[in-house]
């Protein structure tokens, strides 16, 4: 067997060398700075469309942007802004759970102390999406708004929360006919990560399983076609052979005779060699075994990655 390109007598040394050098590099690095960079922080952009405001943003764990629509059905929607999660103070909360950012929704024109409904809709939300409200004036700043989550006919989920002027969800804290709602759609990060992971792992089995079924089916069809083609080739060949006169030794040309002679000689030599080496134990004739060994050796050369030119 041809030796591989790697010095196998010291297998661990190579791994050690690489890991060692990287350890040195890591020690000399500026620490865990890279981990504190929030590369995926959503940066929403807002546009007004009639009485609605639409936020366009790339959520955490996505490469493409999504749209979230804000709407206050009964009163005027004054504006919506993005709120930085770090600045909002995330005690007890994980920014990763708020994949589509925090928003400050401002609405006005309601009677002081009155109630309004704030609706957030997006095809990015799921049935498991919750709305969490932040009010820093309270002892427990984070609250589950227990929003009503409904699926619309256009495959868009709508989350509706009722907010009372001056109530716990109103961050301005005053009964003034205006509402400031700091709210964020929340999905469990680990639930999503693990759930999607399992689905996708079995997805690979599904893709390759379907391909396997397709190949087995195609294989059966082709084997059948090939057998039929061989049978139709063989059948007409037999019939005229019976009608033709037998081939006489004089009809064989000298080159063919030489080839047959050489083949017989090689075969007998191989038998003698095999007998001498006592290789008779395995299946097949020695001629077949030698041929197979030669073929496999040639194949190994083809698969010699290092030696490939």
């Amino acid at each position: 067997m041809k030796k591989g390109p790697i010095n196998q007598s010291h297998p661990i040394r190579a791994i050690r060398r690489i890991i060692g050098i990287f350890f040195l590099l890591a020690v000399s690095s500026p620490g865990w700075a890279a981990f504190s960079d929030d590369a995926e922080k959503p940066k929403p952009e807002f546009t007004r469309q009639a009485d609605r405001i639409v936020a366009k943003l790339i959520p955490r764990g996505k490469s493409t942007s999504v749209l979230i629509q804000f709407h206050t059905p009964d009163v005027k929607l004054i504006g919506v802004e993005g709120v930085d999660f770090d600045e909002a103070g995330q005690k007890g909360m994980d920014a990763k759970d708020f994949r589509s950012a925090l928003f400050a929704v401002k609405a006005g024109g309601l009677s002081p102390g009155g109630e309004i409904k704030v609706a957030l809709s997006s095809n990015y939300f799921t049935q498991a999406t919750e709305l969490w409200v932040l009010n820093r004036a309270l002892q427990t700043p984070w609250m589950n708004a227990n929003a009503m989550n409904t699926e619309r006919s256009d495959r868009v989920q709508e989350l509706v929360v009722t907010v009372k002027d001056g109530g716990p969800f109103d961050s301005d804290g005053a009964v003034n006919g205006e509402i400031l709602l700091v709210v964020g759609p929340k999905d469990s990060f680990w639930g999503y990560a693990l759930g999607t992971l399992l689905i996708r792992f079995f997805g690979i089995f599904l893709v390759l399983g379907v391909l396997m079924a397709g190949m087995i089916l195609a294989g059966l069809v082709f084997q059948r076609l090939d057998r039929r083609a061989e049978a139709s080739k063989a059948a007409p060949a037999l019939r005229p052979a019976a009608e033709e006169p037998e081939e006489t030794p004089e009809a064989i040309d000298p080159e063919t005779a030489t080839a047959i002679g050489v083949a017989l000689h090689l075969h007998l030599c191989a038998l003698r060699a095999a007998a001498a080496m006592n290789l008779e134990r395995s299946d097949g004739s020695s001629w077949a075994r030698q041929g197979r060994s030669q073929i496999m050796r040639d194949r190994l050369l083809v698969h010699d990655r290092a030696g490939r030119k």
Binding site: P5, P11, R17, I19, R200, I204, M215, A306
Partner: protein, 382 residues
Amino acid sequence: MTWEYIGDLILSILFTQTGIPNLDLKQVLMLVVALLFIYLAVGKKFEPLLLLPIGFGIFLVNFPLTPLMGYTESGAPDLIRAFYKYGVEWEIIPCVIFLGLGAMTDFGPLIANPKTLIIGAGAQLGVFVTYIGVLFFGFTLREAATVGIIGGADGPTTIYLTAKLAPQLLGANALAAYSYMAMVPLIQPPIMKLLTTRKQRLIRMRQLRPVSTREKLIFPLIATALIVLLCPAVAPLMGMFMFGNFMRESLVVKRLTETAQNALMNIVTIFLGISVGATMQAEVFLTWKPMLIFGFGLLDFVVCTAGGILTVHVMNLFLKDKINPLIGSAGVSAVPMSARVSHNMGIKEDPNNWLLMHAMGPNLAGVIGTAAAAGMFIAMFH
């Protein structure tokens, strides 16, 4: 003109136009890393086709003030930045490499034994285990996906996915993938021994049936249709792979096939290697992340190998003609290195047990499986 003026001029030239005063310790460390990889490629013949240009790329960009990976004032990319931008950032080179790989691949062993596709799927286990593992260390979902795919042992797929999802990790991921691919003969055998008994290693598999030219010709069409229908995100990679294979099997475009196999493949390999190496500038590369990527990359390879072998054990519970579990490790791609490892392990136990062609089946299935995993990840972030 005074001597003082001349002195100032010399100092100014020295500091702004030469590299020596601008060389810092981090760059020196990166130069050492570059020399290490060049040594591994040249001296130890570790994946020299890739590690040599990558090593030289690292070497080149870690000298100060080099106009290689930046942009000019007019916005035109510097030399290697242009290779990177149009080749890697635009995701062209990995797909062209897949075209060449397709043109080089004989799918015969896989077509003759399609069951081995399931082994290729099982060997993706490490991809997902690593994905979860690195999430615990603060990697983002996208970064975790690109680190996970290292265990698929498929360089172009790793580069393709990383360039798409987390380009900041391109250098570390590519280096880890190619380094561990080169070390497959060292990593896999102990796991193979651990997870198999001698009796299992002695299993002789039935001779593969001959595959007709017609069947080989139709395979890329069927495979493309099914895979792209189920996982459209993988179409760029799988489409080019199967296109290359279709050219090969059609036997009517030999010139094109030969170009894809040789000249084109070699050209893009040069540009890919040097571009990937050039992403490893000291200020980007010297963090804990590459260290973790290397650690998890190794774990990834181990779990993928184990996943392939365990899949064979499970399959053998249901199959009449048993599969030798040694070929399970070939389910990680690393074509054809891991198939050779399976073969070598097999003949160590029984010199007449030729497993190479049997192992090529899961090996090729691993390529498809890794591409499918990449497609799943891409789809996940859309």
